[in-house]
Amino acid sequence: MDAEALVHDYLGRLDFAAGSLPPSRRAELAGEVRQHIEMALAEAGARDEVTVRNVLERLGPPDEIIAAEHGSDASSPGWANVAAVPAAARGSGWGAVEIVAILLLTLGAVWLPIIGPLLGLIFVWASARWTNRQKLIATGIVLVLAVLPVILLLGLQSGSTP
C-alpha cells in the first residue's frame, strides 16, 4: 500500500469511527487530522510508506481520537500526543496565518479602517486552527459592530441629503 493510500485508509477509518459525531464536526475533525498528518510529514521531510506509517501510529487509532472527542478517554491519545504533532500545530496553535489575522483585526483596523478587519477575516477563514463556528462568530462581531452601522449611517446620510 502506498503512502497516500495509507492516509486515505486512515481517514476513511476515522470517518467511519466518527459516525456518532455531528456531520460538521466530523468534517472538521477529518480536516484537522489531515492537516496534522501533512504537517508531520512535512516535518519528517519524507512521504515514504515507513514515514507515513510512523506518523499514523503516533496519531493513534481512529477510535481513540473519537473517544477523546467524546471526552470519554481521559488518557491522552496519540492524537493529542505532543510528539506526534509538529511545533506549529501544538501548544496554543499559533501559526503565521493566525498571527497575521490577529494583527489585521487589531492594528489593521486602526491603520486600514474597514479594509484591515476584512483582510483579517480572510486570514481567519484561511486558518485551519479555528473552527467554523469560531470563524462565524468572529465574522459576526466585525460585521455587526463595524460594517453594518456604517452602511446604515451611510444609507441614512444619503437619504437625508436633498
Binding site: 474597514i114 466585525v142 459592530l145 437625508s160
Partner: protein, 34 residues
C-alpha cells in the same frame, strides 16, 4: 452627521476588530487538548 459618522468609524471599527481578535485568541489558547 459627518462628525458622528467619522466618530463611529473611528470607534467601532477598531473595537470590532479588537473584540473579534480577543475572541479568536481566547479560542486558540483554549484549544489545547488534554
Amino acid at each position: 452627521m459627518d462628525v458622528s459618522l467619522g466618530a463611529l468609524l473611528i470607534l467601532l471599527v477598531p473595537l470590532a476588530g479588537i473584540l473579534a481578535a480577543i475572541y479568536l485568541m481566547v479560542a486558540l489558547i483554549r484549544r489545547r487538548r488534554p
